[in-house]
Structure formats: structure tokens, C-alpha cells
């Protein structure tokens, strides 16, 4: 059973969403500092990452789910910009990096339940780059807080403690 889970995850990663293999945090550091990877961000990568990491963890491989959560957050953050007929003027390199940083920090903060830690994580990963304005810190922190609030609401709904 575990082998089947791992096989499905690997088939998806190898044949469909090739950008999803590995942790994603190292590539994220590269991306925030100005290197574009092929297939690193896209709808295929997102779906493969979400399903693949679930299957890999349940397949008893010795892997974690925190690094992929950062990658998933980064993907969602960038894909927000590509909603049709919206945000046309924001699709430049600088804004893309800002949105990716916000998404990744939201992912990490949800994984550890640490909003301030998530914001600092994005700050440290991007090695304060030129796209970091002063006002970005509190925007990223706000993104982390909203992510944690959403998680809290979902958890309480799931366990019927409202």
C-alpha cells in the first residue's frame, strides 16, 4: 500500500509536473534572488506538489511537509496575479517576487503556527533584496496572520468546537 502511494507520487512528478520534485526551498531562495527555473511555478506544479506530498508522506518515505508548504504558498501567491482580466499592471518581475515572498512566508507560518517567524523566514530567504520595500514587512506579516486565522477557523469547523 505504501509502495503504491509512493509510485503514484513519483509517476506524477516524473511525467507531469517536473518542477515539483525536491524540497522547493532551495529553488525558492534562487528565485527570490533573481534566477528563473524552468517549470518552477505553474498550475501543473501546484497540483502535483499538493497531491504528491500527501502521497509521499503517507507512503512512509522519510520526508517532511514543511518545505513543500512553502513552495505551495509561493505558487498560490504568484497565480493570484494571473486571474484573468485582473492585475494586468502588476505582472512585472519585481511585483512577482514580492507576491512569491508573501506566499512562501504564509506557507511556513501555517506549518509552524508562527506568524512572526514566517515573515522573518521570507525576509531571511530573500537576503534583503531590492524588491524589499520597508512597507513590505508588515504586508507579509499581515498575509501570515490571515493564513493563521484561516487555519484556526478551518480547524475549529473540522472539530466542531465553534
Amino acid at each position: 500500500m505504501a509502495t503504491l502511494c509512493g509510485l503514484i507520487a513519483s509517476v506524477m512528478t516524473t511525467y507531469w509536473g517536473t518542477g515539483a520534485s525536491g524540497s522547493g526551498v532551495a529553488e525558492l531562495i534562487g528565485y527570490l534572488n533573481g534566477i528563473n527555473y524552468p517549470d518552477f511555478i505553474g498550475i501543473k506544479t501546484l497540483i502535483t506538489k499538493i497531491i504528491g506530498v500527501t502521497l509521499a508522506v503517507s507512503g512512509k518515505l522519510c520526508v517532511g511537509k514543511e518545505g513543500p508548504l512553502a513552495h505551495i504558498g509561493a505558487n498560490i501567491g504568484l497565480l493570484v496575479l494571473y486571474i484573468p482580466n485582473r492585475f494586468m499592471f502588476l505582472r512585472n518581475d519585481e511585483k512577482k517576487r514580492a507576491y512569491v515572498a508573501a506566499g512562501a512566508s504564509a506557507g511556513v507560518s501555517v506549518a509552524f503556527g508562527a506568524p512572526i517567524g514566517g515573515a522573518l523566514f521570507a525576509y531571511e530567504m530573500s537576503k534583503p533584496n531590492t524588491f524589499w520595500r520597508f512597507s513590505m514587512i508588515w504586508k507579509v506579516f499581515f498575509a501570515c496572520s490571515v493564513a493563521n486565522l484561516t487555519l484556526a477557523i478551518l480547524t475549529s469547523l473540522y472539530s466542531n468546537e465553534f
Binding site: T14, K49, V53, G64, P68, G113
Partner: protein
């Protein structure tokens, strides 16, 4: 409220007991700093070999399936080889422990459980919470075996063509090592009985941060993340010592 949750880290130290955390945090930092480069070196060599020899897509899929089979069977059979049973009252812990191959006891209020199986068959967050629990009883060699199995499997698994993360294996190895250190110090009577329960929990958190800092090379963000996850202010300075030494 998070995906990964620690247990309750309480701190009620009396007098000068708190200062035991400072030299031990430095020592755990040395351990984590030694482990990080070792892990990266082994993993780098294995991945270089992997890149040269496994090229076709079919071979990559077969390799991932093989590693799944390998680690699942190791996790299943190690508790069988090192089988022993501990007793626990039925109403003590809130979570059910794995009864594995233990015989049923005659008394209704006592269940037998296998401590190694309990931590090997649970998810990663469960492992840390189980290690922190007050009356969790596991011997030192078994804890060492557990940490060793996770180290070897993580080093050879990372790089297989599946989505994989590196945060949680480091935390599991670190927490097992911290727990191991606390039990050794208790065995040699360096920690007295009264504060052993608190020191154990703090060592688990310190071990996590040290082993993560060893190979991810994060500094202040890791310190803040660990403090927020464990929700305890008083071990912030020991965590910072650990991370500095480890880096």
C-alpha cells in the same frame, strides 16, 4: 493552532536550576553543527551517483517505489525485532498507544504497549508530542536505534523524484537526540529527579533547533519559529546559543 504542534512546555524552575540549560545548549549545538555537514556530504555523494546512473524516467519511478517499500518495511519490522512491553493505565494518556505484538493483560485497567512501535508508526508531529509526554517510557538503546534509522533513511531518501521536505526529518532526529541526551544525563545523575520532567521537554526543543540550524543554515527566523512553535519564552536564549554554536 498549527500543522505541527508541540506538547505543553512548562517551566517551573527553582533557584539556580535554570543554568543547566546553558552548557547543555552549547553541547547540543556542537552535535547539530557536526551532523549538518555530515548529512549534506553523504547526501551530495549519493545524489551525484544518482544523477550519473539513473537516467530514464521509468528507472526514477521504480527507485521511488523501492524506497517506499524499504522504509515502510524497516519501520514495520524494527519494533518486531526489538519487542518489549510496558504497562500503562487505560485512563492515563489521551492518545491510544500502539499495542503491536504485546499480549493482552488480565487486568482491565492496564494496557500493554510497545514504546518503539508507538513512535515509529505515528506521524511526525505525533512523534514529538509522544516524546514529550510525561510517562512515556523508552530505553536508551531503542531511542538510539530510532534516531539512527531516521538519519540513514533521510540521507538516502532525499533526492528521490517525489515532492519532499527537509524540515520535519531534521526535527524528528533532533528531538530524538535531545531526549537521548536528557536520559543519559539522568542516568549519570547529573539532573536530579525533581526537574527532570521539565528539562526533558526543553532538551527536545533545543535538539530540534540545533539539528535544523545544522543543515538549513537559518539563523534568527529559525529562533523565532521555534519559540513560537513551543510557546515558551524562557528558552529563547538557550535556543539562540544553540543556533549560534551550531552555525
Amino acid at each position: 493552532m498549527s500543522v505541527l504542534k508541540f506538547g505543553d512546555v512548562v517551566d517551573n524552575y527553582k533557584g539556580t536550576d535554570y543554568w543547566i540549560l546553558v552548557p547543555s545548549s552549547l553541547f547540543i549545538g556542537v552535535l547539530g553543527g557536526l551532523y549538518g555537514p555530515l548529512f549534506i556530504n553523504i547526501n551530495f555523494r549519493i545524489n551525484a551517483w544518482r544523477k550519473n546512473n539513473i537516467k530514464s524516467k521509468c528507472a526514477k519511478v521504480i527507485e521511488a517505489g523501492f524506497f517506499c517499500f524499504l522504509s515502510a518495511s524497516i519501520f514495520y519490522f524494527v519494533p518486531y525485532i526489538m519487542n518489549d512491553c510496558k504497562e500503562q493505565g487505560k485512563n492515563d494518556g489521551e492518545k491510544i498507544r500502539q499495542e503491536a505484538w504485546c499480549p493482552q493483560s488480565d487486568d482491565e485497567t492496564i494496557i500493554n504497549y510497545n514504546p518503539l512501535a508507538t513512535i515509529m508508526w505515528s506521524s511526525e508531529g505525533e512523534i514529538i508530542r509522544n516524546l514529550m509526554r510525561q510517562n512515556f517510557d523508552i530505553t536508551i538503546p531503542k531511542l538510539a536505534v530510532f534516531a539512527l534509522v531516521w538519519q540513514i533513511l533521510t540521507a538516502i531518501t532525499y533526492g528521490v523524484n517525489v515532492p519532499a521536505g527537509l524540515f520535519l526529518p531534521g526535527m524528528v532526529i533532533g528531538s530524538a537526540t535531545g531526549e537521548l541526551l536528557a536520559r543519559c544525563m539522568h542516568e549519570f545523575h547529573w539532573i536530579d529527579e525533581g526537574m527532570y520532567g521539565d528539562v526533558r521537554k526543553h532538551f527536545v526543543v533545543l535538539g530540534c533547533s540545533s539539528f535544523l540550524a545544522g543543515y538549513t543554515r537559518m539563523t534568527y527566523s529559525l529562533a523565532v519559529i521555534m519559540m513560537e512553535t513551543s510557546q515558551s519564552i524562557s528558552i529563547f536564549i538557550p535556543i539562540i546559543f544553540t543556533i549560534i554554536v551550531s552555525n
